[in-house]
C-alpha cells in the first residue's frame, strides 16, 4: 500500500516536472501528436522497413522532441524538427551493427492472398516500390518520401535532412531518376 502511495507521488512529481521542463504542455503535445504521429510512423516504417522498430523510434523521436531546448517559430518548424530527429534515429539505427537486422522490405507489406485477388496489379506495384526503395540510399529514400509522399518543399526537405537547399534540386533529381530506373524492368540489374 505504501509502495502504491509512493509510486503515485513519484508519478505526480514526474508529471509536474514534465510540465515545467518540457517545451510544451500536455494539451499542446496531444494536439501535435494526433496531427503528426501517423505520418511520422509511416515515414519511420518506410525508412527502416520494420514496423516494430518504427514503434520504438517513434517514441524515442517524441521523447527527444520533448527534451530539446530548441525553440520553434511555428508548428511546421516543430514538425520539420521532429522529422529531422526521426531521420537521425533511422540513420543511427542503420549504422549500428545488428546481426538480426531485418530486410528493408517489411513483412507487413507483403500482400495477403485475398488482397491479391482484389487488386493484383496495385499490390505488385507496391512490392516493386518497396524493393526499389530498399535499393536506394537512406538519404535518397528520405528525400523522395518527404518530397512526393508528404509534399514537403525543397526548403523543408533541406531543413529536415541538413542539406543546402541549393543542392537539393540536383540530389532529388538524381534520386528520382534512380527510383524510376529501379521501377522499370530494365532497371532491375541497375546497382548504382
Amino acid at each position: 500500500m505504501s509502495g502504491l502511495v509512493l509510486s503515485e507521488l513519484e508519478r505526480l512529481a514526474a508529471l509536474e516536472e514534465a510540465e515545467r521542463t518540457f517545451p510544451m504542455n500536455e494539451e499542446e503535445f496531444r494536439a501535435f501528436y494526433e496531427l503528426t504521429s501517423r505520418p511520422v510512423w509511416v515515414y519511420l516504417t518506410r525508412m527502416t522497413g520494420d514496423s516494430r522498430l518504427a514503434d520504438d523510434l517513434l517514441q524515442e523521436a517524441y521523447y527527444r522532441l520533448l527534451r530539446t531546448k530548441a525553440t520553434f517559430e511555428s508548428e511546421d518548424h516543430r514538425r520539420n524538427y521532429l522529422y529531422r530527429i526521426a531521420t537521425n534515429l533511422v540513420h543511427d539505427q542503420r549504422r549500428r551493427p545488428r546481426a538480426d537486422r531485418e530486410p528493408l522490405v517489411d513483412a507487413e507489406r507483403q500482400p495477403a492472398p485475398d488482397s491479391l485477388t482484389g487488386s493484383e496489379s496495385r499490390a505488385a506495384r507496391r512490392i516493386d516500390l518497396a524493393r526499389a526503395m530498399a535499393r536506394m540510399k537512406p538519404r535518397e529514400r528520405s528525400m523522395l518520401w518527404l518530397a512526393y509522399a508528404h509534399g514537403c518543399s525543397h526548403e523543408e526537405i533541406a531543413e529536415v535532412l541538413g542539406l543546402k537547399t541549393s543542392s537539393l534540386k540536383a540530389l532529388l533529381h538524381r534520386a528520382r531518376r534512380r527510383l524510376a530506373g529501379f521501377m522499370t524492368p530494365a532497371g532491375e540489374g541497375e546497382t548504382r
Partner: protein, 176 residues
Amino acid sequence: MTSRSCAHEPEIVAAVLGRRWPEACDASLRAHAEACEVCREVVEVAALLKEDYDEAREAVAQRDVPLPSAGQIWWRAAVHARAEAAQAATRPLVWGYGVAAACAVALLIAGVSLLWPSLLPAFGVMTTLVDWVSPVAASATDAVVATLKARLAIVIAVAAFLVATPVALYLALRED
C-alpha cells in the same frame, strides 16, 4: 544534357497529392506533363509514393498493435526525464569520488617527496643493500630523488591543484 527540374514540378506534385491528377487538373498542365520528361517522371514517382503513403496510413488504423497514445508517450517521457535528472544529479558525486582518489594518491606522492630527505638516513641500510645488489638501481633512485628535490615547487602546485579541482567541480556541477 537533360534538365534537372521544371518550373511546373510543384504544381504537378500538389495535384497528385491532392488527388486532382489527372482528371481535375488544368488541360494545359496535363499537356505539359505529357511533353516534359521531368514532369512525367515526377507524376510517376509521386503517384506511386502517394498511393503507398495512403495505404500505409490506412494500415496504421487496422494494426493489431495500435500506436501508443499521446498520454502514454507523455508519461513515459516524463518518467524517463526524471530518471535522467536523477542520474545527472549523482554524476558530480561519482566524479568527486574519482577525483578524491586521484588527490589522495597525489598527496601521498607529494608527502613522500617532501619527507624524502629525512627518510633517507632511515633507509641507509636499504640503500647500501641496493648499492650492493645493483649499482644501476641505486643511481636510478638517486636520480628520482634529485628530480623530486629540484621540482618540489611543481609537485606542491600539482598537489594543490588536485585538491582544489574536486571542490571546484562540485561547485560548478551542483544543480542548486
